[in-house]
């Protein structure tokens, strides 16, 4: 590094007239890129649906009609909202529990050595196999479904937090000691921010696991929810409706990814900045 460019932020490096412009032009360009592939896929699907057995592959228009009829209306409040609520509660609980436990375990060495080998065992168990057991204990309730989501989604957050907390840079720790930072300050200003990139990677994994478990938990003795509806449509040969449910699941995934991306960019602005500087 040299002494030039005192405060120039790397983000300010985009010069006017560069290949990808700024303002509305840039916005439409990125929207175009984002929607390009979906449009191509829908067209291909339409072609595919006209040349094959239409029974299992309805046309995009039929699925669209089914989507509007099925999900916009009372089903939204009866099935979609409860599912998403359980997903949100399960995910938030996993993140909270994962970070809290992970921080304690990451900081206390004997606890880590005591627990980590067992964690590998529990983590390896696919959570769906536990659903019947949990259902027997808790009954076919919303709580049971939230617990299933949590049991699966907590692991990546927990293990990544342990790793992130343990990996705190030694010079950063010496700095904290030299300036006699209090325990709370260390946690808030050193341990957690330093572990945050790892924690966020864990949260990203937890999100996809939680979405899968949300669906699966509703496939066993349930009477409402997205997963229940999709299975119901499958069993009753309501093929277009089934596809519309699958499309809805995909859209939920996109929504989660957008929320995650927004939060991650805000929380890890420094991390992306450091990376950008390191890679020139």
């Amino acid at each position: 590094m040299s002494t030039t460019a005192p405060t120039a932020s790397p983000n300010a490096a985009t010069t006017p007239g560069a290949r990808s412009g700024r303002g509305p032009g840039r916005f439409f360009q990125s929207v175009g890129f984002a929607l390009g592939l979906p449009i191509v896929l829908v067209v291909l699907w339409g072609v595919w649906a006209t040349v094959t057995e239409p029974k299992f592959f309805p046309t995009p228009a039929e699925v669209y009609t089914a989507f509007v009829d099925t999900w916009i209306g009372p089903a939204f409040m009866e099935d979609v909202v409860p599912s998403l609520t359980r997903l949100a509660i399960g995910l938030v609980a996993s993140i909270a529990v994962g970070i809290a436990l992970g921080t304690v375990i990451g900081l206390v060495r004997w606890l880590r050595e005591f627990l980590e080998p067992s964690f590998e065992f529990f983590r390896a168990i696919p959570p769906p196999v536990m659903i019947p057991v949990i259902a027997v204990v808790l009954g076919p309730t919303g709580l049971m479904k939230v617990v299933v989501i949590m049991l699966g989604a907590v692991w990546p957050v927990l293990l990544n937090t342990i790793d992130g907390v343990r990996g705190t840079d030694s010079v950063m720790k010496d700095t904290a000691s030299a300036f006699a930072l209090t325990r709370g300050q260390r946690l808030r200003n050193l341990v957690l921010p330093a572990a945050m990139p790892r924690i966020m990677a864990g949260v990203r994994q937890a999100m996809s696991i939680a979405l899968i478990l949300m669906v699966i938990s509703e496939m066993f003795n349930a009477s409402s929810g997205l997963g229940y509806k999709i299975v119901y449509f499958q069993r009753n040969y309501l093929i277009a409706e089934m596809w519309s449910g699958i499309v809805l699941l995909g859209l939920v995934g996109v929504l989660l990814a957008v929320i995650f991306g927004f939060v991650e960019r805000r929380m890890l602005r420094w991390y992306h900045g450091v990376k950008e500087v390191e890679h020139g």
Binding site: M1, P6, Y271
Partner: protein, 266 residues
């Protein structure tokens, strides 16, 4: 001036490893008065950093003691500040320049206004007032080390300890930072213990230069630098006396490297 600030007495440090015990520091004793700028110089691998960590209370010496104002150091004392060599790992990248300087002050009993003034003053002293909202990684290496110095200055320590702070910056930046350290010492009367492997730097900066031996380390020489306190990169370094002192220290370090110097009484 004879107010003793720091007393290092027979500090010894051995490490236990699987291959046996390694003696890093054999026996180091020296004292430092309030308001002094003392440089510690020695061959690489002579345990300078180990010694500093013992003095700063980050490491417990195997034997001997470190006293600050007559109080034994067992944990990092609140009236001591450190500047590390690895500025990139010592500043917190998630905090701005201002946030980094302010952080250690938050647990001191200060009003918001006092804290703000200390931070402003320290950032101004290192010449970074224009960058106080930037993040460390947006700055050059030399400027990052200035932030670390500002953090130490704002902490209002009685003694400032610097561990090879300029080893990783380029030569021109280094000269500027050396003058910054001289200015902090002269204008603010700060007591500074400065560790370096650069012989010229130790003579240019210090009022005293302590030459360490090869590991296991002891104090090979404690040399007073009788240069004018007004120092200047061009004229001071051109003085015949500077050259003499520099040559003397250089020879001492060479002897230390070859292990030719014999520890008295060992």
């Amino acid at each position: 001036m004879a107010d003793t600030l720091l007393t290092v007495e027979h500090v010894k440090k051995t490490y236990n490893s699987s291959t046996g015990t390694v003696e890093a520091i054999a026996d180091i004793s020296f004292t430092m008065n309030a308001g002094e700028l003392v440089c510690i110089v020695g061959p690489s691998g002579c345990g300078k950093t180990t010694l500093l960590k013992c003095i700063a209370g980050l490491l417990r010496p195997t034997d001997g003691s470190v006293e600050l104002h007559g109080k034994r150091v067992t944990a990092p004392p609140p009236n001591m500040a450190l500047v590390f060599q690895e500025y990139g790992r010592s500043l917190y990248p998630w905090l701005t320049v201002r946030g980094n300087v302010e952080l250690p002050l938050k647990h001191k009993k200060l009003t918001r206004e006092e804290r703000r003034q200390l931070v402003d003053d320290a950032i101004e002293a290192v010449g970074l007032s224009h960058a106080d909202g930037s993040y460390p990684w947006q700055l050059s290496g030399g400027m990052q080390q200035r932030v670390a110095i500002a953090r130490a200055v704002a902490y209002q320590p009685e003694v400032l300890i610097m561990d090879e702070p300029f080893a990783a910056v380029d030569a021109q930046t280094r000269a500027d930072l050396e003058d910054l350290v001289r200015a902090l010492h002269k204008d603010r009367g700060m007591s500074i213990l400065f560790v370096t492997h650069d012989i010229d730097e130790s003579v240019y900066l210090g009022e005293r230069v302590i030459v360490l031996s090869n590991a296991p380390t002891w104090v090979q020489e404690d040399l007073a630098i009788d240069l004018d306190p007004e120092r200047d990169q061009i004229t001071t370094r051109a003085l015949p006396r500077f050259t003499e002192l520099r040559t003397h220290v250089y020879q001492q370090v060479q002897r230390a490297k070859r292990g030719q110097a014999v520890r008295p009484g060992a």
